[in-house]
Symmetry: C2
Subunit: 354 residues, 2 copies
DNA sequence: CTGTTAGCGCATTCAG
DNA sequence: CTGAATGCGCTAACAG
C-alpha cells in the first residue's frame, strides 16, 4: 500500500525526513553513503511521495493541464499523445479536459486547472481573438501555450494554415484544376477553419480562379448531441448535391481530414472515381489516413510534434519561473502528402478548355 | 488570480474559515443567511479552493486515474471520451497514462496514480491473468475497474469477444463462406486478441469449417518504435500474399478495426472488390468506420459506454468507501454492423462446392 | 553534509 | 449553527 510516509523511510534509514526529502529532490546534496541507504529504504518500503502534499508544500504539482476540443478527431488524439509522452518524460502528469467546442467549458476547464495548481496549460481554443478562457489565463502567472491556434499576442504552436492552402491551390491549378471547391467545418467555432478557408480564397484569387461557394457542413466532432443517423451511413447532402452537378468541381478540399474522408465517401458513393473523376484533399495528416484506400491527400501537420513542442516550451518556461512569451511561438513545417486521392484534373465533364 | 485563499473569503464574509469550508462541502449544515453571504464573497473574489490542500487534508483528490494502451487506436480514444465526460459530470478530473502496451509502464502508471491519491483507477492491461500492475493494485484499497479486459477475479467492463466471434463465424458460414481467415495483432500483448482468436477457432469448429492459419501482424499501436515506412503506404505483406493465392479466403476477419481497415486497403490494392470478391470484417466499432467507403463490417462495442460504466462503477464504490468487486463486472452487448464490406461468399475462385 | 522546525491551504474534530 | 485549533505529508529555511 501507499500508506508508507516519508517518516517511515527516515526511520528505516536512520536519518531525518529532511534527508529523505533531499535524496528525492536534490540527490547531489546528499552524501553518497547516506543516499544509498535511504534509497534502499525507499525501494524496500515501496515508498512513493504523496503528490498532494508535495504539491501543496512546494507549489509544484508536476502536472500540466490540457484543454482540447475532442478526442473523436484523431488530430487531437495524436497531439495528446505527443503531449503525454513528452510530459511523462519530463516527469509530469497531465490533467486533460475536453470541451466539445463549447466556450464555457474552455473557461471552466481553465478555472479547474488553475485550482489544481497545474504548472502550465496547453490548450486549443475556438478562437484566441475572443476567448474568455484566455482572458482568464492572462490574469495569471500560469504559463500556457496554444496548440493549433494562431494569434500574434499569444504563444502558439501550429502550422501556417493559410499559407498551406495557398500553396495547395497553386499546386492544384498546376494540375489543371479550375473548379476547386472547399468544404469546411463551422467557421465560428474554429480559427483553423477560418484561416484555411481564407487561404482557399486567397489562393484561388492568386491563381486567377473563381472561388466556389464555401460549403459549411455540420461536423461530427462539434457539439455533444448526436445527429440524426442515416440508414446508409453518414452522408453529406450538400456535398452530394454539388458533386451531382454537371459543373461539379474537379477538386474538393476538406478543411480537415475527417471532412475530406467524408467527402471521399460521398464521392465514391455517388459513383465517382477518386482521383480520376475528382481529387479530394484534406488537412491535418491524421495517421489513420495511411491505412485507407485511396490514401487521402492531405496537408500533413506534425501533430505529435505540435504536442511535444507545446510541452517543451511549457517546461522551459516553468524552469525559468516565467510565462511563455508570444515571441516564442513556433510555426512548424507542413508537408503536402499527395496520397492516392489527388491527380490532374480530368478533361471530360464540360471542362472549359484553356 | 487564484491566490485568494479561504481566509480571504472568511474575512470578506465576516465568518471563520470553517464556515466557508462548510458552505463548500456541506452547505446544508450552514444557516441560509450565512451561506448566501459566504457564497457572495466566494463569487466576488473568484475563490477556487486549492485542490492540493483539499486533497491532502481530506484524502479525496476528486481525481480518477486512467491507464490505457494508446490513443492512436480510436477505440481507446472513444473510451476515454466516455470516461472523461462521465468523470467530469461527477465532479472528477482524470489523470491518464498511456503505456504503449509496455508492462512496466502499466505498473509505473499505477504507482504514480496511487501516489497521486486518485480515488479510483480504470485501466486496460495487456493480460489481467499476469499483470504486475494488478497485483500491485490488489494490495491496495484503491478501487479499480478493468476496461476491455476480462477475468473472473477482477471487476471488468467489456463485451464477450469470444462469443461475438463465434456468432460472427456462424453468420459468415450462413453467407456461404468456408475459407475464413483471421488476422490478429500480437496475441501476447492483448487478452482481447487472444479471446477473439479463440472465438474464431471455436466458431470455425462449431461451423464444421477448417480454420486457416492465424496471421499475426505487427500493429501500429504496439510498441513505440516506428516501423520501416513503405513508399506506397502501409502494406500487410503476409496478408497480401494470402490474398494472392488462388485458394484465398472469401472472408477476412481482423482482430480489431484498425487491422480490418488495413486488410481492406490491402485487398483493394491488390485489385479485389470488397465485398464482392472478399468480405472483410473488423472488431471494435470505431466511429470513424462510418465515414469510410466501403464502410467496414464490424462487431461494434459501445466504446464510450464502456468508459462511462467504468466510471459509474468506480464512483459508486468510492461513495461507499469500498472497492469494486469482481461480481460487479458487466458484459455489455455488442452488435454486428454489416457495413458495406460483408457479403455472401462468391462462388467463383475454385470453391469446393458443397 | 545532515537535523530541526515551520508552515503550504484546507477539512475536521471539539467547544461554545 | 458557528468558531478555534489541529495536522494531512511534505519541502525549505535555517542551524548545527
Amino acid at each position: 500500500m501507499a500508506n508508507v510516509g516519508i517518516l517511515d523511510v527516515a526511520r528505516a534509514a536512520q536519518v531525518s525526513v529532511a534527508t529523505v526529502s533531499r535524496v528525492l529532490n536534490e540527490p547531489e546534496k546528499v552524501g553518497e553513503k547516506t543516499r544509498l541507504r535511504v534509497q534502499a529504504a525507499i525501494d524496500a518500503l515501496g515508498y512513493e511521495p504523496n503528490a498532494s502534499a508535495r504539491s501543496l508544500r512546494s507549489q509544484r504539482s508536476r502536472v500540466i493541464g490540457v484543454v482540447l476540443p475532442t478526442l473523436l478527431n484523431p488530430v487531437f488524439a495524436e497531439c495528446l499523445k505527443g503531449i503525454a509522452d513528452t510530459a511523462a518524460r519530463g516527469g509530469y502528469a497531465i490533467l486533460p479536459f475536453f470541451t466539445d467546442y463549447h466556450l464555457e467549458r474552455e473557461s471552466q476547464a481553465v478555472a479547474l486547472l488553475l485550482a489544481s495548481n497545474v504548472e502550465g496549460i496547453v490548450l486549443v481554443v475556438s478562437n484566441p481573438a475572443h476567448s474568455p478562457a484566455l482572458v482568464r489565463l492572462g490574469k495569471t502567472r500560469c504559463p500556457y501555450v496554444l496548440a493549433y491556434n494562431q494569434h500574434p499576442e499569444h504563444p502558439c504552436v501550429t502550422v501556417n494554415g493559410e499559407q498551406a492552402m495557398i500553396e495547395l491551390i497553386r499546386h492544384l491549378a498546376t494540375l489543371g484544376h479550375r473548379r476547386i471547391a472547399m468544404v469546411s467545418g463551422h467557421l465560428h467555432v474554429s480559427d483553423r477553419a477560418q484561416q484555411r478557408s481564407h487561404g482557399y480564397l486567397k489562393g484561388m484569387d492568386k491563381a486567377g480562379l473563381a472561388p466556389m461557394p464555401l460549403l459549411e457542413v455540420p461536423f461530427m466532432d462539434q457539439g455533444e448531441e448526436e445527429q440524426t443517423p442515416h440508414s446508409d451511413g453518414v452522408h453529406l447532402a450538400s456535398v452530394a448535391r454539388l458533386l451531382r452537378q454537371p459543373e461539379r468541381p474537379t477538386a474538393l478540399i476538406g478543411s480537415n481530414d475527417l471532412i475530406a474522408i467524408r467527402c471521399l465517401r460521398t464521392a465514391q458513393q455517388i459513383g465517382l472515381q477518386v482521383p480520376n473523376d475528382i481529387s479530394v484533399i484534406g488537412f491535418d495528416g491524421i495517421a489513420l489516413g495511411a491505412e485507407l484506400f485511396p490514401r487521402p491527400a492531405t496537408i500533413a501537420q506534425p501533430n505529435e510534434e505540435i504536442g511535444r513542442q507545446c510541452i517543451g516550451l511549457l517546461l522551459e518556461a516553468v524552469a525559468q519561473q516565467k510565462t511563455v512569451s508570444a515571441q516564442a511561438s513556433v510555426l512548424l513545417p507542413y508537408t503536402f502528402d499527395r496520397g492516392e486521392s489527388c491527380a490532374p484534373a480530368p478533361c471530360s465533364p464540360r471542362a472549359h478548355t484553356g
